[in-house]
C-alpha cells in the first residue's frame, strides 16, 4: 500500500516546497543576511514562519556565538518535519542556501528517514508527580500589581528565536495574564558582531536599517501591505555590496524593483529616490487614521524620566503599587509606538551613535514594560529599533546571559513569587 502512495507523496512534496515557511533567526551582525533572505523568500514565493510548528526550514542569519547552541538546537527539535536548516552569514550565500533547503525538503525519502529516527517524546519529559506533571513545575502565584488578586504568573522569555525581534535580544519577562510584570534584558552575542556592525556603519545603511525596523513594527501591527512597501524601500536603499540577487529574480514592472535588480550600486540619484519614497510612505502612515487609532496608546505605563514629579511622588507614597503611576504615565507619555514609527520612516533623521542609544534603551526597557501587555511590548521593542550589533564589548558584558535562573527574585520585589499550591483545594 505504501508503494502505491509514493507518487502522491512526491506530488505533495513538490507542491509543498513551493510555499516553504522559513523561520528566520537573526544573530547580531546578521542583519544584512536576514534582509537578503527575506527578499529571496519573496522572490521564491516562500514566506516567513511565525513559530517552529509553522516552519519547514530554519535559517540562521549571521554567525552565532557559543551561547546560541542551546536555543538553536531546541528550535530544531520543535519543528514538526519535513524540516531543513541552513546558516548564512553574508548575503552572497543566500541563493545557494535556499537551493539547499529546497533540495533537502524535496527529498521525500530522506525526510521520512529523519522523521522515523526522531523520539516521539522529548528525552527530558518525566513521569513527574501531582505537583510536577511531566517533571515541570506548576506556575507560581503572585499578587497582581493592578488589582491585588493573587494569580499565577508565567515566565516567558521573548527572543532570541522570534520573528520581527531584535537580533540576539532576550527579554526574560514574567507575565500575569498577557501583561508584563517584570522583565530582564539579556543579549546573546554573535561571534562576529563587532566586525559586521563596523562594516555596516561604514556603508552608511542607516536609512535601510530604519526602514527595516519600520517594516517590523508594521508587520507586528498587522499592516502587512504597508510593511511590504517598507521592505521594498529597504531593499532599494541597501548599498550594492549588501544586495544578493538570486538567479531566479524576475524583472518587475515597478520602477523601484528595476532599481533594485540593477545592482549597480546605490548611486546618489537612486538614494534620492528612495528617500523621496520613504517620505511618501511616512506621509501615508501619518495620514492613516485607522493605523493611528490602532496604535494610539500602544504606549507604556512607565515612570520614565519624562513622566515628571507627580508620578515620582506617587511612587514614593506607595512603593510597589504601580496602579496610579501606570495610568498617569500612560496619559502623559506621548512618545508612543506611532511617534517612534514615524521617526523611523523619516529619511532625514540621523542616528549618530546607535550603540549608545541602544544601550540606553535596553537599560530603560525593563522599567518601561511593567504593566504593558505583551503585544504592545513587542510593538515597542520593534519601534525602538534596537541595534544589538552596535553594542560594544562592555555593553555586551552588562547584558550577558546569567545562569542563576532566579528570574523571580531578579527585578524589584519577587520575594513572595512562589507557588501557593497546597494539596487539594476546592472548586
Amino acid at each position: 500500500m505504501a508503494v502505491s502512495l509514493r507518487p502522491l507523496q512526491r506530488v505533495l512534496a513538490r507542491w509543498a516546497v513551493r510555499g516553504t515557511a522559513v523561520l528566520l533567526v537573526e544573530v547580531p551582525g546578521g542583519w544584512a543576511a536576514r534582509a537578503a533572505v527575506e527578499r529571496a523568500l519573496v522572490e521564491r514565493g516562500w514566506r516567513a514562519a511565525s513559530s517552529p510548528a509553522d516552519a519547514d526550514a530554519v535559517v540562521v542569519c549571521g554567525t552565532p556565538g557559543e551561547s546560541w547552541g542551546e536555543v538553536l538546537e531546541r528550535t530544531w527539535e520543535q519543528m514538526p518535519g519535513p524540516r531543513a536548516r541552513a546558516s548564512v552569514s553574508a548575503p552572497s550565500e543566500v541563493p545557494g542556501a535556499l537551493e539547499g533547503l529546497a533540495a533537502s525538503l524535496l527529498d521525500d525519502d530522506a525526510q521520512r528517514a529523519d522523521a522515523a529516527s526522531r523520539d516521539l517524546v522529548p528525552a527530558d519529559v518525566e513521569n513527574g508527580d501531582d505537583m510536577h506533571p511531566a517533571g515541570l513545575d506548576l506556575a507560581g502565584g503572585e499578587d497582581d500589581l493592578r488589582d491585588g488578586l493573587e494569580m499565577d504568573v508565567l515566565r516567558v522569555p521573548l527572543g532570541p528565536v522570534l520573528p520581527d525581534w531584535p537580533a540576539g535580544l532576550v527579554l526574560r519577562t514574567v507575565l500575569s495574564g498577557d501583561v508584563v510584570v517584570r522583565a530582564r534584558v539579556e543579549v546573546l552575542a554573535g561571534a562576529a558582531a563587532r566586525r559586521d556592525s563596523a562594516d555596516d556603519a561604514r556603508r552608511g545603511d542607516d536609512v535601510a536599517r530604519r526602514l527595516d525596523a519600520a517594516a517590523q513594527v508594521l508587520r507586528l501591527a498587522g499592516a502587512d501591505d504597508v510593511a511590504a512597501r517598507a521592505v521594498h524601500l529597504r531593499d532599494a536603499a541597501l548599498p550594492a555590496g549588501l544586495r544578493s540577487l538570486s538567479p531566479r529574480s524576475a524583472p518587475s514592472p515597478s520602477g523601484l524593483r528595476s532599481l533594485l535588480t540593477s545592482s549597480r550600486g546605490a548611486g546618489a540619484e537612486e538614494a534620492h529616490e528612495v528617500r523621496g519614497e520613504a517620505a511618501r510612505l511616512r506621509g501615508r502612515v501619518e495620514r492613516s487614521r485607522v493605523l493611528a487609532w490602532a496604535l494610539r496608546e500602544a504606549d507604556v505605563a512607565t515612570s520614565s524620566p519624562t513622566s515628571g514629579a507627580e508620578s515620582d511622588a506617587a511612587q514614593a507614597s506607595a512603593p510597589g503599587d504601580l496602579r496610579d503611576v501606570g495610568l498617569d504615565a500612560r496619559r502623559r507619555t506621548r512618545d508612543d509606538v506611532r511617534t517612534l514609527l514615524l521617526g523611523l520612516l523619516d529619511p532625514d533623521a540621523r542616528d549618530d551613535d546607535p550603540g549608545r542609544r541602544t544601550r540606553a534603551a535596553l537599560e530603560a526597557l525593563p522599567e518601561r514594560l511593567v504593566g504593558v501587555d505583551v503585544v504592545t511590548a513587542r510593538l515597542l521593542v520593534a519601534a525602538l529599533d534596537l541595534r544589538t550589533d552596535a553594542l560594544g564589548d562592555d555593553d555586551l558584558a552588562a547584558f550577558a546571559p546569567r545562569d542563576d535562573e532566579d528570574e523571580d527574585g531578579d527585578e524589584a520585589d519577587g520575594g513572595d513569587a512562589h507557588a501557593h499550591h497546597h494539596g487539594h483545594a476546592h472548586g
Binding site: 515541570l136 508565567l154 522569555p157
Partner: protein, 122 residues
C-alpha cells in the same frame, strides 16, 4: 404538513454534525497516509528557543473581567429580544416603547460603566 417539515430542519443540522464528524475523522486518516510520519510528535511548547520554566496552564489573569459583568447582565436581555422580534408588527408602538425603555435603562448602566472605566484595560 409533511414529516420533514414537522421536524423543522433539525434533521438537516444533525446531518451536518455527522458529516462534519466524518469529514474531520477522514482528514486525520488521510493525513496519516500523506504526512512524512503517521504518528505525531510531542514537543515542549515554544518559548523562543528556551525550555519552559513552568506549565502554561495556570490561573490566568484575564484583566478584562469587569467587562464580563456588564456583558453578562446585558446579554440576558437577548432572551426577550428574539421573541419580541416576532410580535413588534402585531403589538405595535407599545412593544417598541416598552423594549426601548428597557434597553435605555440598560444603556444607562453601560454609560455609567464606561465612565467608571470598565471598558479601558488597566
Amino acid at each position: 404538513m409533511t414529516g420533514a417539515e414537522a421536524t423543522s430542519g433539525w434533521a438537516g443540522l444533525l446531518a451536518v454534525l455527522v458529516l462534519g464528524g466524518v469529514g474531520v475523522t477522514g482528514a486525520f486518516a488521510v493525513h496519516r497516509l500523506t504526512a512524512v510520519a503517521p504518528r505525531g510528535l510531542t514537543a515542549w511548547p515554544w518559548l523562543s528557543g528556551w525550555h519552559p520554566s513552568e506549565h502554561a496552564l495556570s490561573r490566568y489573569h484575564a484583566r478584562w473581567y469587569p467587562v464580563t459583568v456588564v456583558f453578562l447582565a446585558f446579554d440576558v436581555e437577548m432572551l426577550f429580544m428574539y421573541p419580541w422580534v416576532l410580535v413588534v408588527a402585531d403589538v405595535g408602538l407599545s412593544a417598541v416603547v416598552e423594549m426601548f425603555v428597557f434597553l435605555g435603562v440598560l444603556l444607562l448602566g453601560v454609560l455609567w460603566a464606561h465612565r467608571e472605566g470598565a471598558f479601558s484595560w488597566q
